[in-house]
């Protein structure tokens, strides 16, 4: 018999956005929820073009339009 694998239920506990300060790290435990008047959490993610790091704080000095979207 070909068996498909099964799963267990899980209780939600979110931790998500990571902020790394200069010499220490902190893992925040909240979903993405930017608030007006607060700093946007800094992040480093790979570019879709070549995988090179893109860091939000590198854009300081300019206004930023940050667009979260999907290609599906």
């Amino acid at each position: 018999m070909i068996r498909t694998h099964t799963t267990a239920p899980a209780i939600f506990f979110a931790f998500a956005v990571i902020t790394l300060l200069a010499n220490e790290s902190r893992a925040q435990t909240a979903s993405y929820a930017p608030k007006v008047g607060q700093p946007h959490v800094d992040f480093i993610l790979p570019s879709i073009d070549d995988g090179s790091p893109i860091q939000l704080s590198d854009y300081r000095g300019k206004k930023v339009l940050l667009m979260h979207f999907a290609s599906w």
């Binding site: 018999m1 070909i2 068996r3 498909t4 694998h5 099964t6 799963t7 267990a8 239920p9 899980a10 209780i11 939600f12 506990f13 979110a14 931790f15 998500a16 956005v17 990571i18 902020t19 790394l20 300060l21 200069a22 010499n23 790290s25 893992a27 979903s31 993405y32 930017p34 608030k35 007006v36 008047g37 700093p39 946007h40 800094d42 992040f43 480093i44 993610l45 790979p46 570019s47 879709i48 073009d49 995988g51 790091p53 860091q55 939000l56 704080s57 854009y59 300081r60 000095g61 300019k62 206004k63 930023v64 339009l65 940050l66 667009m67 979260h68 979207f69 999907a70 290609s71 599906w72």
Partner: protein, 389 residues
């Protein structure tokens, strides 16, 4: 919405604005194709593991020169005002993320769930261990789960690591199984997480609406070629479940069962191995799931000069979107590719449920002996989390 934004930015051509996209996508080349098609000229970062924790898309945020969020629901008709507004510098500078953190050292020195998860994230996003990055990520996420077994974020990312390893080099159904398993667990932990739900739907049934996923791909390729360009090649083929034409399964189908197959000599898995994965990882009564079948040549090649691969499936405890599955022969005499077939299943209230069937195929061994074979199989369908092993 993004195309509207793009047109607005082109029109205003603001000098003091940086545009940055963050895309929820497992396969970067699919976004690259989309970007090429739409001729976007702004950088796009890939968040394949919901690193930022976004639960929905799209989101459009206006951030000032100091890194302060000034608008969380920016609209194209509000861009001009955002650009003209002068914002004051904050008393303290916004925190900046360190670029040189050694996540492996961090996790070794202080192996908390958070640090282990960040190590996995680093491997997934930046592939520090090259071809072994998925192995390392899986190891790190599993260690993180030991510390925090019910964390939906870790569960989702572990699933993403398995699926990426499956797509990029293992092509092992066990990895797909594990991805389905952990994504299902993650979604169970937080049913409102839209991005996770979409990941399940991407390989499973359309649970609520007939969303298209990648129907745009064909149009994009055609239009890019018409412009005289070469479209970005997709390294991972689209599955049937990623296209909208599978969104309305017909559970009342009347496919005709192949006749006179009882006498066909059986293959017990010597020539072709049959595997399956279900998405989500288990089904509940009256809720659809998708079963992905995979036929893997082991001791033989497909013989493409005879009748094509045919699979018959039936079930006493469930309705099936199809009973007869076929795979068109490629344009070469023989081949050794893995063959994928999909169908949807809708389970009633039966305690136990399985899908039984048989595959009919023509294969040739390496020394040139060709044969027609039938392989019988039964796919067990796990029902609800309580019925699992």
């Amino acid at each position: 919405m993004v195309p509207v934004w793009h047109a607005t930015i082109k029109e205003l051509a603001p000098e003091n604005l940086a545009v940055l996209g963050v895309v929820q996508e497992q396969h970067s080349e699919r976004t690259k194709l989309y970007k090429q098609w739409k001729q976007y000229d702004f950088p796009i970062a890939q968040d394949s593991i919901t690193k930022l924790g976004a639960a929905v898309v799209p989101i459009f945020i206006g951030i000032d020169e100091y890194g302060i969020v000034q608008n969380t629901k920016l609209r194209p008709n509000g861009l001009a005002k955002f650009l003209k507004t002068k914002f004051d510098a904050p008393e303290t500078a916004s925190p900046v993320m360190g670029k040189e953190t050694n996540f492996a050292e961090l996790a070794e020195e202080d192996p908390t769930a958070e640090n282990l998860c960040m190590l996995g994230d680093q491997e997934m996003l930046f592939r520090d261990s090259g071809m072994k990055c998925h192995d390392k990520a899986i190891e790190a996420y599993k260690a993180a789960l030991e510390k925090n077994p019910n964390n939906g974020t870790i569960l989702f990312r572990l699933g993403a690591a398995y699926r990426q390893r499956y797509d990029e080099h293992s092509h092992d159904d066990a990895d797909f199984d594990m991805a389905s398993k952990y994504w299902t667990m993650a979604l169970d932990s937080n049913p409102g997480q839209y991005i996770w739900r979409r990941r399940i739907e991407q390989y499973g049934p359309r649970l609520q609406k007939p969303y298209p996923f990648y129907d745009w791909v064909g149009t994009a390729i055609k239009e890019i070629k018409e412009r005289g360009e070469t479209p970005i090649a997709l390294t991972v083929d689209l599955t049937q479940s990623e296209l909208a034409n599978r969104s309305t399964p017909n559970y009342s189908n009347e496919d005709a069962k192949p006749e006179s197959t009882e006498e066909v000599s059986r293959d017990g898995g010597t020539f072709i191995l049959i595997e399956s994965t279900m998405v989500p990882g288990y089904v509940e009564a009256e809720k659809p799931a998708t079963i992905h079948m995979r036929l893997v040549p082991k001791g033989a090649k497909w013989n493409n000069e005879s009748t094509p691969l045919t699979v018959w499936i039936e079930s006493e405890g469930a309705k099936l979107s199809k009973h007869l599955l076929t795979f068109d022969n490629p344009n070469q005499p023989d081949s050794k590719e893995n063959r994928s077939l999909e169908f949807d299943i809708l389970v009633g209230k039966a305690d136990k449920c399985s899908v039984k069937g048989f595959a009919l195929y023509n294969v040739c061994t390496e020394d040139g002996v060709c044969m027609y074979r039938r392989q019988d199989f039964e796919i067990e369908v796990p029902q609800t989390a309580n019925s699992q092993d």
